[in-house]
């Protein structure tokens, strides 16, 4: 990589200017995807723009009853934040399934999202939570839902000069709970064959009033399955509702066939994992209702 420059700007404006000046420049979060790809010769950016020196870019912030996570915050720091872990355990657990402790001490959720791998573990959990990205760019800041960032494997909707500054969560609804589960051949250091993120809200009677269900690794990008959520809303999460939800999940799954899992296995597992994740999310919702 002879011709790659390294910059560590101190402000968002400087980072935007550096990224805008060179369309091949890449933001650097934890580098656990970017540096691997550069070493493998798959990517040779003109410049690497390290986001970690920008003020406010690392850490979990709270605005009222809503959380915002700086784009350069490593996954292990999420786990260390008790309030975030209590409010969004599914998201924190998903981020802490990534790699090893060494990897999680560097890896960020923004990098997980912007690497645009269909199997990225934190992404279905973020989508289920209804999180949005704050994006900085040459024409100022904009907010987009997490699911609008990846467009195909390895590609995002970010324009030249743009990068994710922060991931914002909606206020945690009363009676809300979330969960993320993945299926992998081994428990650590493996890539999801299927991932399912769920966020639901239960009222005082145990009736589901809102739900979001998102799948990873069963299509070119994360899939938000509205039919699956609709199958739960209005129910008490009885067997019929859960079966209808699983069916909607299977119908929305369009996975690839490879040595790690066949199409039929991935589809079936998507239904199973979504069901298990709903039940975990429900127990969390109940615990706080």
């Amino acid at each position: 990589m002879p011709s790659t420059a390294y910059h560590a700007p101190g402000t968002v404006e400087d980072a935007v200017a550096l990224l805008a000046a060179d369309p091949t420049a890449r933001p650097l979060g934890g580098g656990t995807d970017l540096i691997v790809q550069m070493r493998a010769g798959r990517l040779s950016p003109g410049a690497v723009i390290d986001l970690k020196r920008i003020g406010g870019m690392s850490g979990v912030h709270r605005a009222g009853d809503a959380f915002a996570i700086g784009a350069a915050t490593p996954c292990t720091a999420l786990k260390a934040d008790a309030a975030l872990s209590a409010a969004w355990p599914g998201v924190v657990e998903a981020a802490n399934l990534i790699g090893s402790v060494q990897v999680r001490n560097r890896a960020t959720m923004a990098g997980n999202l912007c690497n645009a791998s269909p199997a990225a573990d934190s992404v279905p959990a973020l989508v289920a939570a209804g999180a949005v990205c704050v994006i900085a760019g040459p024409s100022g800041q904009r907010e987009v839902p997490v699911e609008a960032i990846p467009v195909s494997p390895g590609k995002t909707s970010l324009a030249p000069g743009e990068f994710v500054v922060e991931i914002r969560f909606p206020p945690k609804p009363a009676g809300g709970g979330d969960a993320y589960l993945r299926s992998t051949p081994r428990t650590e250091m493996d890539i999801a064959v299927v991932g399912a993120g769920v966020s639901i809200v239960l009222d005082g009677e145990g009736i589901c009033t809102a739900a979001r269900i998102a799948l990873g690794a069963v299509g070119p990008t994360v899939v938000l399955v509205e039919d699956a959520a609709a199958a739960l809303v209005g129910s008490k999460l009885d067997d019929d509702a859960l079966a209808a939800m699983s069916q909607a999940v299977q119908a929305a799954s369009n996975p690839i066939d490879d040595k790690r899992g066949t199409v039929s296995y991935r589809k079936a597992m998507a239904g199973v994992l979504a069901r298990r994740a709903v039940l975990i999310a429900a127990s969390r919702a109940g615990a706080k209702a």
């Binding site: 420059a5 560590a8 580098g31 390290d50």
Partner: protein
């Protein structure tokens, strides 16, 4: 591309080096600073042989760009023993024969010490999960886990005032 000057602290001492913008921290430690204890097993974050502690957190130094170390504090395997006195983790690795070829050992010791520094009483399963990012092709892991558990027990004794 001109080289970048980086000032850091390595094992408690101020250290300066010149590096290419995309050199890895591992390459600088080994080739520029002569600290060859950290090993390169894979260069892709999978094996943990290059594990160092950066600002208090263990990371794969093969996946850190050397210029990122500006102003940061780095601890490597070379700083684990105090002079000729081995750290309990090192001593227990010897006693329990937790190494064969030894290539993975520096990474395991740095990682195990990082665990025991924050949790001197881990369960076996906590040890195994913590070390999941360190690969060993020789020992079958069991002796490593036993050595770490034994080191934890010794550290707890040392820390308990008589």
């Amino acid at each position: 591309m001109s080289k970048i000057r980086v000032s850091t602290t390595v094992n408690g001492d101020a250290a300066e080096f010149l590096c290419e913008p995309t050199s890895s921290l591992l390459d600088v430690l080994r080739d520029t600073m002569g600290l060859t204890g950290s090993k390169e097993g894979c260069g892709s974050g999978d094996c943990g042989a290059c594990t160092v502690v950066l600002d208090g957190e263990m990371v794969c130094s093969c996946l850190v760009l050397a210029p990122e170390a500006e102003g940061r504090t780095i601890a490597t395997i070379e700083g684990v023993a105090e002079g000729s006195v081995l750290h309990p983790v090192q001593q227990k690795f010897l006693e329990h024969a937790a190494l064969q070829c030894g290539f993975c050992t520096p990474g395991f010791i740095v990682a195990a010490k990082a665990l025991l520094d924050r949790n001197p009483d881990p369960t076996e399963s906590e040890v195994r999960y913590w070390l999941a990012g360190n690969l060993c092709r020789c020992t079958g892991y069991d002796k490593i886990v036993r050595a770490v558990m034994a080191a934890a027990a010794e550290l707890r004794q040392e820390r308990t005032p008589a």
